[in-house]
Structures are given as structure tokens and as C-alpha cells.
């Protein structure tokens, strides 16, 4: 049965992408598929989602893989019972063949093919204006065929094709054009609120169109190279596994989104741990009070829970180019759970050092505070290349007296010191005064102590150096910290 094969391939791919799909969940999915017809693609997708994906952060990954595996199956492209390729598939293959023969840019016969690019752009604008879904879908198909210039057999994920298609349609200026046209059309002057709403509406339509184009490209790529190969090219790490140092802009966005719920969960967990971590001495009063319902027999002893003091935290972060993203995230992370600490102070440096606690104090908006750190902090001393030695020295001179036995010091950076003097005695001194000194390094362990990295030299004087490449590792570290 082809559906079964498809399903097992699909589930293997989900696991490859990092989703924890257990055997029972797999069986549930098979059960679910029995009662939901595969022709109803949306219902089918939700049925699989409900049985296989138990974390909303994984939904995007699931959706992509679903699209790759089942994109040719749905009401628009009926799958035939015996597993033979359907008409759509054949048609697409023909198109690919033609492209192979003629080079890019020309399609086969059909209603829209005689149009010039300008006419297509004009049609697209009309469709976006009126929000005509069917028209948008047809245009997406047409423009991919025309502008993407897809070459069969090339092992790519489609980003380039997407870029080409969109560039040809001049989508960047489309929003402006739509707004202008809209202004002309409406008779009276629009208020700024109305204009803003119109703009949001158009933006969402354009976004929708982009997605249409993207899925059209994927559909064709799958037809060309098969689902498995395609899924492999598209495989992306889950948000919590994205590396700070190599995150693209999109990944940064998804990281930011993942950060907030993660910190909320962590804070709840920490608060709970604080309360229930240990059992304290017997609470006599409470025990006697409860014994009343057992006729005076203290059958249910009650204990007092200790409330251990919250640690003080000093974060000292390198914000030079290569590790800036990591520093930003760690700061955001720490401040998002700052009520788990009695006090948080933060310092940033490149070759000079500056305290930035005040930026976080003055606003509730962590994102804004981070922006101010990036623009206003005074961190350059000589040339703006990392100099850990000098930064630490100054830090110790100015703030060393504030380190006491309650303080935990977090040092963040890759310890790439540009061959300056290490001054590792500062770290040693800090450790003498502080409760703990930890070092978090965003580089993979195998890179440590290569080139100008001297993390080992500093690390010898700390209570531990931790690799902190992604959110998962960062979360794990912070959880053990309090």
C-alpha cells in the first residue's frame, strides 16, 4: 500500500529532523489516517500533526516535511489508487523536460503563457488588490514556471528559485504600489489608522503570495528529485538547536520567538525547585493543626520548606562581532528570568568595559535595552578588537570590590584574545571572592584553544567552562545555576 510506505518515510524524516516521535505515536498516526481520508489534505495534516507533533515549536518543521511528502496529494492533485503518477505529476515532468530542452523562461501552451511579464505583474497587482485567492495561486504557478528558471537535477533547496521569481515580479515595490493605488481609489482622505490597517492587509496578502510561490517551487522540486532527497536539503535545525554563532536572520527571529516561552517555563521550574528542593524541619504548629482531623493523632506530619537565598549574578559579556549574537541572547535570557536572582548586574566589553545594568533598569522592554547596549555602551578602548586581558583588569579595578561570597560571575565569550596579554590572574582573584565563576563559550569544544583562543588558560581558574552553542545548552546551564 503506497500510503503506508509514504507514511513510514515521512516519519523517518520527522525523526531525522529531530522530532521525538515514539512508536506509540507512530501507531496512533496510522490509526488516525484510517479514519481521515487522505484526499482531505487539511484534515489529514491536522490528524498527523495531532498525533505526531506534541510541541508547537516543532510545527513549522513538521509543516515543511508534510508539504514535501504530501504536496502532490490533495484535492487539486488526486492520487490514483495504484500509486501511478497522476496527471499533474506527468504534466510537471513534461514541463521540466521542456525546460531542459529550451533553456529557461518559456513554458508550454495554456491560457496565461502568452502574457508579457508586465502583464503578469499587473494581473498580480489586481489580484492582490482584491485579495483573489484563486487568481493568486494561478499566478504563483505561472510566475514560477516563467521566472524561476528551474534546472532539473540540481540539488538545491529552492531559495535561489524563490529569489529569482520574486525579483522578476518586483515584489519589493509591490507594497508601495498597492498603497498608492489604494489611495487613488478611495475618494476621501484615509486616516492614518485606516492606512495602517490597509498596509497590514496588503502585507499579509503579499506574504501569502510568497508562500504560494514557495510551495509551488517545492512541489516542482519534489517532482524532480523525490521527496526524500528534497526533505534532506530542506532539513533545518529546531529553534533550540540553532547555533548562535551561525544563525541566519530568519533563524534569529525564530530564536527570539522561542526564547520567551522557554524562559517562562524555566522560571516556573526554578521557582518550584526552590520551594520543593529539600525538606526542612518539622513544622510543629501546622502538624498539630492537621492532627485535629485525626482525633488528635499527628498522622500527617508537616514540614517547613526552606527558602534558600537567591544568588546574585554578574554577567560579563564579550560583544565583539563574532560572539555578539550569543552575548545578546544570554543577556536577554538572564534578564527574562531575573526575578530568580536577587540582583543581576551586567557588563559588556570589547577591549574596554562598561556597565549596562542601567539600560535594563530603565525599561521593561528587554529588546529595547539590548538595542541600547549595542549602540550606547562604551566598550572600545583602543582599536575595537577583543582584549579580554585589559577588559578584565579594568573590570576588577572598578567593580572587583562588589564581588562577594553571594555573587556568581558569568563570563561570556570565545576567549579569542587577539594575542594580547591574558591577565588570567584577574579570574583567579575573582574566584577567590565570588561564590562561583563560570565561563560560557559559544564555540564548539573542538575549536577551543586553537589559534588565539585561550579559554583553557582562563578556564583553569573558573569553576567550569561550558559549551553554549544553542538555546538548549544555555537553558540547561541556567537551570543548574540557581
Amino acid at each position: 500500500m503506497p500510503v503506508l510506505d509514504l507514511m513510514s518515510g515521512f516519519i523517518v524524516e520527522l525523526r531525522n529532523a529531530g522530532l521525538p516521535v515514539s512508536l506509540t505515536e507512530n501507531l496512533d498516526a496510522m490509526e488516525a489516517v484510517k479514519v481521515i481520508p487522505i484526499e482531505d489534505r487539511d484534515a489529514f495534516k491536522y490528524a498527523l500533526g495531532a498525533t505526531l507533533v506534541k510541541n508547537n515549536a516543532h510545527w513549522r518543521v513538521f509543516e515543511t516535511i508534510f508539504e514535501v511528502y504530501f504536496s502532490l496529494r490533495g484535492p487539486e492533485y488526486e492520487i490514483t489508487k495504484d500509486g501511478q503518477p497522476d496527471d499533474f505529476w506527468r504534466e510537471m515532468q513534461e514541463q521540466m523536460d521542456q525546460v531542459k530542452g529550451q533553456g529557461e523562461g518559456k513554458g508550454s501552451g495554456g491560457g496565461m503563457d502568452s502574457l508579457t511579464p508586465e502583464e503578469i505583474a499587473a494581473m498580480l497587482m489586481r489580484a492582490l488588490m482584491s485579495g483573489d485567492q484563486a487568481m493568486m495561486r494561478a499566478l504563483a504557478k505561472q510566475s514560477v514556471q516563467r521566472f524561476a528558471g528551474m534546472e532539473p537535477g540540481r540539488p538545491v533547496g529552492g531559495t535561489y528559485y524563490l529569489y529569482r521569481t520574486l525579483r522578476n515580479l518586483d515584489l519589493d515595490n509591490m507594497l508601495q504600489k498597492l498603497m498608492d493605488a489604494n489611495r487613488e481609489m478611495s475618494k476621501q482622505q484615509l486616516s492614518s489608522l485606516e492606512e495602517r490597517l490597509e498596509k497590514d492587509e496588503f502585507e499579509s496578502r503579499i506574504e501569502q503570495f510568497k508562500q504560494e510561490v514557495e510551495s509551488e517551487i517545492r512541489r516542482r522540486l519534489v517532482a524532480d528529485r523525490g521527496a526524500e532527497a528534497m526533505a534532506k536539503t530542506l532539513r533545518k535545525p529546531l529553534p533550540e538547536d540553532v547555533e548562535f554563532m551561525h544563525a541566519s536572520r530568519d533563524e534569529m527571529q525564530s530564536l527570539k520567538k522561542a526564547l520567551y516561552p522557554l524562559t517562562r517555563k524555566l522560571a516556573a521550574r526554578l521557582a518550584r525547585k526552590r520551594r520543593h528542593g529539600r525538606k526542612g524541619p518539622l513544622d510543629f504548629r501546622n502538624t498539630v493543626r492537621h492532627s485535629l482531623s485525626y482525633g488528635g493523632v499527628p498522622a500527617d506530619p508537616k514540614f517547613r520548606y526552606p527558602r534558600p537565598a537567591k544568588p546574585e549574578l554578574m554577567v560579563v559579556a564579550d560583544i565583539s562581532g563574532s560572539v555578539a549574537a550569543f552575548a545578546r541572547f544570554t543577556l536577554m535570557f538572564v534578564y527574562a528570568i531575573q526575578n530568580q536572582f536577587s540582583k543581576v548586574r551586567s557588563f559588556v566589553f570589547i577591549d574596554g568595559i562598561d556597565e549596562v545594568t542601567k539600560f535594563f533598569k530603565s525599561t521593561e522592554d528587554i529588546g529595547e535595552a539590548i538595542n541600547r547596549v549595542n549602540t550606547e555602551a562604551d566598550v572600545v578602548w583602543v582599536d575595537g578588537h577583543s582584549d579580554y586581558g585589559h577588559a578584565f583588569e579594568v573590570f576588577f579595578e572598578r567593580y572587583g570590590k562588589d564581588i562577594n561570597s553571594k555573587t556568581t560571575v558569568l563570563l561570556l565569550g570565545d576567549a579569542r584574545n587577539n594575542y594580547h596579554a591574558a591577565q588570567s590572574w584577574v579570574v583567579k582573584e575573582m574566584r577567590k571572592r565570588a561564590r562561583h565563576v563560570y565561563w560560557l563559550n559559544p564555540e564548539p569544544k573542538s575549536y577551543w584553544n586553537t589559534g588565539d583562543s585561550i579559554v583553557g588558560e582562563y578556564g583553569a581558574h573558573t569553576d567550569g567552562v561550558f559549551e553554549c552553542r544553542n538555546l538548549r545548552q544555555l537553558e540547561g546551564f541556567v537551570e543548574n545555576l540557581t
Binding site: 479514519v35 482531505d40 491536522y46 506534541k54 492614518s192 498596509k199 518550584r272
Partner: protein, 288 residues
Amino acid sequence: MKPRFKDVATVRSGLKKENYLADDGIAGVVYLADRLGKPVLIEGPAGTGKTQLAKSVAEMTGARLIRLQCYEGLDESKALYEWNYKKQLLRIQADKKSDSWSEVHDDIFSEEFLLTRPLLEAITSEEPVVLLIDEVDRVEVETEALLLEILSDYQVSIPELGTITAKQIPLVFLTSNNTRELSEALKRRCLYLHVDYPDLEREKEIVLNKVPDISENLADQIARIVRSIRQLDLKKAPSVSETLDWARTLMLLGIETIDEKEAKETLHILLKYQTDIAKAAKELSVTK
């Protein structure tokens, strides 16, 4: 057992009759839950109708809703069952002389002395029930284990009595506000449903449905403004219930079309943080 629903469309129209507008995902999962006999774990931001879904399903199927509100410190005796200690004591004292010990012993651990709590009640009930376990993320991880037996096998084991199996399989809904990661064991036993903020069309429909006499034009405007606000980077995005509050307020004020000034003046109904309100007010008036 006879399935409750014919197909996804029936679920959807049934819920609509109860004034709950479900999208494809929600209706599909409710349908699956019935067919596969599995509990549904509902997650999502606060105020998107997670609890309401369980209530509406109960109304739609004419079942009794049994609700277990979770909180920290919830234990067996509040969730599952408890022996009626005082009554047992009375029983022992009432006829001290007549019964032999073994008789009394058997007697005081019978159903007569059992206090059923929501979970046990749900599975021993004769008539159809919908079991709602609300805010399951509030209990400790250890307490979660209490739920596992009932969720996978619809039974409760009581050491003194033996195993009590369900007379009918109830529809079970668990809601979570996602304040902590639920255990794998729990998640594995459930179907997962993430209820997010509704899209423009659905939100508009919800407003039209829930706020009497509202004009289509105003509902449309409200839904669009709320969508714009949700796109901003806020501490707490407006929920559906806050949208409805806002719509009602605007109706009370007799506003037919929202202009910038009125929107700003009533923003505090949608948003609860001063920084959010300031940000939204700024964004709504600036056009780029």
C-alpha cells in the same frame, strides 16, 4: 462503542450551534479524539478558548461536564478518590460488640466509604461525560503520574478495592498554559492541539457571533486592528476574550467606526501593560 460524530463537518457545525467557531484543526482533532478514544491535550496562549472548547463539546453532545481544576499541591485525595475516614470511624464505633474484626475490615473498605473525586467520578458515571482537566501544567511532574492510568486505559486502581474500569469512554480534554514542559509520558498518551489566536476572518466571525447587534463593518475593523496589534512585539498580545471586551465597550460607547483617537483611548481594554499600550498607540498612528 458507537462514534459520537459522523465526520469532521458534523463536529464543526455542531460546535457552531453552541456558538463556538472551530477551525479545521480544532474540529478535526475533536473528531479524532472520539474515533481513536484518546484524550486531547490543548495548548495555546491564554484567552483563546481552550476551556471553552471542552464546555462546548459537552453541550454539543449533551454530556455532563466534570471539571478538575489543577493547582500546585493537588494530590490523589483531591483528584482521584479518598476514603471517608470519619464515616469509617463511626462504622467501627457503632457496633463494637456484634461484628468480628474481619467483617468490619471488609466492610469499611467498600464503595460506601469511598469518596469519589472528579477523575473517578468521570469513569464511573453511567451517563456520557466530558472530563476537563484544566491547567494541567500547574501540578508537579510527580502528580502528573496520577493521570496516566486514567488517560491511557480509562481505569483507576484502588489497592483495597481492585481496579475500576470505565463504564463508558469519556471525552477527555486537558488544557495547559505552557508554563512548563509536560512529561513525555503524558504527551504520548494524548492527541495534541495547539489553539492559537484566530485569523482575521475567524476573529471577525467570533465578534459577530458573541457581541449582539454589532455591525459587520465595526467587527471587521476590530478584527483588523487587533491583528495589527498582535503583530507588534508585545509583552502580552490581546486575547480573543479581550477582543470581545473591546468590541462590547465600543458598542456601549455607541461607536460606529473606530478612528485613531477612540482606538487610543480604549486601548487599555486590549492591552494590560503600560509599555504595550504606549507601543501600540505609537504604532497605530504612524504610517510608513
